[in-house]
Amino acid sequence: MTASIDPITAAVIHGALENIAIEMGHKLMRMSYSSIIRESEDFGTALTDAEGNQLCECKMSTPLQSGPIPGYIRGIHKALASRGETIRPGDVILHNDPYGGASHGPDIAFVVPIFIDDTLVAFSVTTAHHLDIGSATPGSAGIVEAVDAYAEGLQLKAIKVVEEGRPNRAVWQILRDNIRASALVVGDMEAQIKAAEIGATRFLELAGRYGIDTIRAAATELMDYSERLMRNAIRALPDGTWVAEGIYDGFSDDPDPRRRDLPIKVAVTVAGDEITVDLTGTAPQVSDRPINMPFEGTTDCAIWLTLRSILLDSAVYGDVPQNAGLTRPIKIIAPLGCIANPIFPAPTIARFTPGNAMADILMRALSQVVPEQVSAGVGNLHVVSFSGVRGGRHWVHMEILEGSYGGRFGMNGMDAVDTLYANTRNNPVEDVESHLPLRIDRYELRDDPAAAGEWRGGMGMIREFTFLSDGAFSVEGDGHRQRPWAFGGGEPGLPAALTLVHVDGTTETLPSKVAYHAARAGERVIAHGPNGGGYGNPFARDAQAVLGDVLDDLLDAATAAARYGVVIHDGAVDVAATDANRAPASVG
């Protein structure tokens, strides 16, 4: 079927394919209107073959956007086949079905099929998180009370927005009429289509230069290459099974116990060069709350991305192409009807935080096998949607806030960053305040000390928002009730927190999930990001590093003495006192 290919041509084609995906991402990011795409970089671009196997992805893409792209294509094929429709040249297909490959409804794909001599050979695909898809309340984050898939907003299942070159005006009108801030959202959609069309054009140029058979052969080789790397990395692990379990907050203030403190169980089995991740024992789906994770698009991506980040860490391996080859040695078991494999129409729009929690628990299982390649417990994130009406028009703004990593072998945890399968960017304070009726009064590391360890946990942040005019907010977050896990004698981290400060100065502690909540001018939302877990015995931490944290106001001298056994006088380590303090513990 595919010709063999010499390694030199393969290298040249791989470089060219990657170049195409980067160009698509570059243009999408720069053309798009909403900060969730242009600043947070919550988008993906990729080329796939006709079956949906990924040929290349854009390095700027967020993993949770580019990862699902093959699933979107399979979902589109299935939906069209069931309706007896075929894909034709000049079509542009819109798709966001979480039960057909999409990660969740707001992550909308635009797909441009690529034909050579009337044969479908490839797809050029862009995905992006949109600000609003017509859910019950404004924004596309914090829709935490949607009771089923229909309440989450528009379900767009393999819709041809352009048919053989003719725009489907009815579909565009429906989009404009049902989406808030539609000028922004539709502008972003147009940018997505343009970027996908550029990918198609470039792919055809490449095919013209090398021939489609050679490109297929190079793609096959590329997938085999990724597969080889993953199998080699798995083979280096001992055979066996390792388990871990964690608790996901869910709706912590909900009277219904089925909606809160949900267990997530992970059993990792290594056998030769294959790995199985079994989620059996994970909580049953919550049929009327949107914290269920589509198996294809969220559960699978969270697991693949975590495994590759640990086993093929790019700081060690360099860039390894993300494609179907990489995932061939990985099998995922999730019983149908659990939150990691829900049944339609269970709602899924707020699947972000359970996926991140699952990734963290998978890392905990692997910490028993490859302790030097993991971090201790990672703190989960908050996504906050702000909205209001100004001059008769809706404004919607989304903030993806920070978590933090646990300590690592030989390295402290990363402070105040996006974690695991998310890797967005924050919005500059000067951008937010210049364009929205919001003020940010504080953005710095939180005051509580980091989790102690030979390598301390990462620190969360504090970010304070003040409404300058009446509006509303909603939140999907997690990790308010659990301390990120410690490794090897370290100290567990600190949970995240949310506080609402009323105009009169009274405060209200909020849970990690807040449905649409009206806010008055002058009210403040204060978000605390979590501190990650500590790694290793704090008494083994270099005393000078402890001193450094004290000098940097990350730790006070009393805490340094209590948790690390390091005695500090006048800005210097008292070596004798420290040794005396530490001796019993290190012997024990």
Partner: protein
């Protein structure tokens, strides 16, 4: 007017002397003295004066490309730096944009957290707050707190301070006041403000730029002062001018105030040199292609002007930098790039480089891994006995052994593997050029490629062929093109201000007043630098985007005050630029004018021509004929190849490839099917595709 250009590189310091009146030009090279580059500079200048028969006192100007600032950042060797910022924002530098550098990595480092420019202990916060849209004060500056912070920093041994407040680009009052207080408390310290260094929105990027300035400022200032003193002591009274990243030169005083101006000093000179070489033979659409041992630096010249990076694309050592810069794309591809099979068995060339030590296997300094230079030698394209003008012998056997190793792994013949190494590295370079041309709506086929640096002329023709480029220009002295570039530019200063004005409701008075103020500031600066007002001109422009977008595109403004009609032209130019750059324009969307910019150009005397080449005959220039391997029409073959000595090549006589031209600082490859001619200016013009 007698001038000297000095370009300090990692290994060599390159020098050019030119009498601009007569066109007499001499070149020289000395070893770089990394511990104090001013020693090598001084030695080179004096040797060159002696060789050229001029007295040091006759030199009017010394133009200098320096890597002092760049190296201080790359090696993280700045001074102990402090910062004073708003209460509540102590960690802007530490959190950054909260994005990890790598998606798929647990064990990655974050430059701003693992190598802080300002440690948290030296980041002090004070009360005071400004707000958009006009920079109004909503919390007054706590001057006592500023004084207390300065006293603390002083006691902590900090020698340089960046003052960084939110929204200072709208109103500099708080930063200016704090600067005055700090200067009072710490009279010997380097003190700068974020609004002085980069008055643009986005606090992490602006604060980081200010922190970079403070981090390297004292070192740059000290280096320039040391060099000025050394030159003066040696009798050189002419003024020292420093190459800036924006493609102009700046006075020593200016660089001492804004040291970040020089972060791309060395690279910028290369683009200028390449542009000048192209201009000499009437080409104004150029790709400059500068290849050394470890990297390839690519610049684009459209209609005689180089592209500038946009506000969001500049960085150094992983730190963002808001400073006007020539858009130069650097990739890890050079003569020392190593060919290898990675852990998954894929064939790769670079970005890892054998560097100068151990260097390619052929250097015989202990290197055993096959490099691009080894591949060139195996294919017969380099002269083992006459590399770098006979300054160095190459070991063909060592090169063959190294390449044979990877050939066996790949199951290819020795020559196939060597040619494969070149194909892959050339494809990497072609992709880099595509990303700066085709991906930005520029068709490279109408361009000429100027190939220089030690290895540029070896690869230029084959890379051009991959891109459908028909002409390659090889300068007379490929190895010192950057040093020549130093003598081809003007003094150039930039001013920027953030506007945030929307096309549907522009405050023209404010806009024009801002532009006039900026221009007046630059004019004052030129006067202080003794640049004749008659020799100055000002260009205006803006960074625009559709309302809601996050990335701006630069659009030039017409001269003089803007009115409704000229603004309409500006909006139209933005739509057109957007369509070119991204392939689409949103014509119904309102446009946001984000920043306005004024560039002041102070014209100075410069290099305008090269002495015409005279010389012998084509046959007299032939060194030998020998077989070399090339890929032609898709298959690898051996071709009888003529080797020429560049010094003896006559002007105006066309010769055909395959041919190889040898000279002391480079080797030029003219592949089969191509032909070449030495132009009157001394450059070799290679024409591809057999076209005449």
């Amino acid at each position: 007017m007698k001038t000297i250009g000095v370009d300090v590189g990692g290994t060599f310091t390159d020098l050019v002397y030119c009498d601009l009146a007569t066109g007499v030009l001499d070149i020289h090279k000395v070893s770089t003295t990394p511990d104090d580059p001013s020693r090598g500079v001084l030695q080179g200048v004096l040797e060159l004066c002696r060789a050229s028969g001029v007295s040091p006192s006759e030199i009017d100007h010394v133009f200098h490309g320096t890597t002092t600032a760049t190296n201080a950042v790359l090696e993280h060797r700045g001074v102990t730096t402090g910062m004073i910022t708003n209460d509540g924002f102590r960690d802007v530098l530490h959190i950054g944009r909260h994005q990890r550098v790598q998606h798929y990595s647990i064990r990655q480092e974050l430059p701003w957290q693992d190598r802080p420019l300002v440690r948290r202990r030296h980041r002090k916060t004070v009360a005071g707050r400004l707000a958009p849209p006009s920079g109004e004060e909503i919390v007054p500056l706590d001057e006592d707190a500023v004084r207390a912070a300065a006293l603390e920093l002083k006691a902590e041994g900090v020698s340089s301070v960046a003052i960084c407040f939110l929204f200072s680009y709208l109103n500099t009052a708080h930063e200016d006041r704090a600067r005055a207080i700090v200067a009072e408390v710490m009279p010997d310290a380097f003190v700068t403000t974020s609004s002085f260094v980069a008055p643009q929105f986005r606090e992490f990027e602006r604060f980081t730029t200010a922190a970079l300035a403070a981090f390297i400022g004292p070192k740059v200032r000290e280096y320039i002062a040391r060099l000025e003193t050394a030159l003066r002591d040696a009798g050189i009274t002419g003024e020292l001018r420093i190459m800036a990243s924006n493609g102009g030169v700046a006075t020593a005083g200016m660089v001492a105030e804004k040291p970040t101006l020089t972060l791309l000093s060395g690279l910028a000179a290369g683009v200028l040199g390449g542009a000048w070489i192209g201009d000499l033979i009437g080409r104004d659409r150029l790709i400059t292609f500068d290849i050394g041992g470890t990297s390839a630096d690519i610049g684009i010249i459209v209609d005689g002007t180089f592209a500038e990076t946009d506000a969001r694309s500049s960085s150094i050592a992983g730190f963002p930098l808001l400073s006007p810069m020539i858009d130069i794309h650097t990739i890890g591809a050079g003569g020392g790039s190593i060919a290898h099979l990675d852990r998954g068995g894929a064939f790769r060339v670079g970005p890892r480089s054998a560097g100068a030590v151990p260097g390619p296997a052929a250097y015989g300094r202990g290197g055993t891994e096959p490099t691009v230079t080894d591949a060139n030698l195996v294919l017969g394209r380099l002269d083992a006995d006459d590399f770098l003008g006979g300054g160095m012998k190459l070991d063909p056997e060592a090169a063959r052994t190294a390449v044979a190793g990877i050939a066996a792994d790949l199951g290819l013949s020795l020559e196939e593997a060597a040619e494969g190494i070149l194909t892959v590295i050339n494809a990497n370079m072609a992709n880099a050029i595509r990303s700066r041309t085709i991906q930005k709506g520029i068709d490279p086929r109408g361009f000429a490629l100027v190939a220089f640096g030690g290895a540029g002329p070896l690869h230029g023709a084959e890379v051009a062929a991959m891109l459908g480029i028909a002409e390659v220009i090889v300068p007379p002295y490929p190895g010192i093109t950057s040093a020549m570039g130093l003598l081809t530019t003007d003094v150039k200063y930039d001013a920027t201000r953030t506007q945030f004005q929307i096309s549907t409701a522009v405050d023209l008075d404010r806009l024009n007043a801002d532009l006039d103020t900026m221009q007046a500031d630059l004019a004052t600066r030129f006067a202080a630098d003794h640049i004749d007002a008659a020799a100055t001109r000002f260009e205006r422009g803006g960074d625009l985007r559709y309302v809601g977008q996050g990335y701006e595109l630069r659009v030039p403004f017409p001269q003089g005050p803007l009115d409704a009609a000229s603004l309409a032209g500006v909006w139209e130019a933005f739509h057109a630029r957007h369509a070119t750059e991204y392939g689409h324009a949103f014509r119904d969307s309102p446009i946001e004018l984000v920043n306005v910019k004024v560039t002041g150009i102070g014209q100075i005397d410069k290099l305008t021509s090269l002495r015409p080449v005279t010389g012998g005959t084509l046959s007299g220039a032939v060194v030998r004929r020998a077989p070399c391997a090339f890929r032609a029409d898709g298959s690898l073959g051996t071709f009888d190849t003529t080797f020429y000595d560049r010094r003896r090549l006559p002007a105006g006589e066309r010769f055909s490839g395959p041919a190889i031209v040898l000279q002391s600082d480079s080797t030029t490859v003219i592949p089969p099917g191509a032909s070449a001619i030495v132009e009157a200016t001394g450059s070799i013009l290679i024409t591809l595709g057999g076209a005449e």
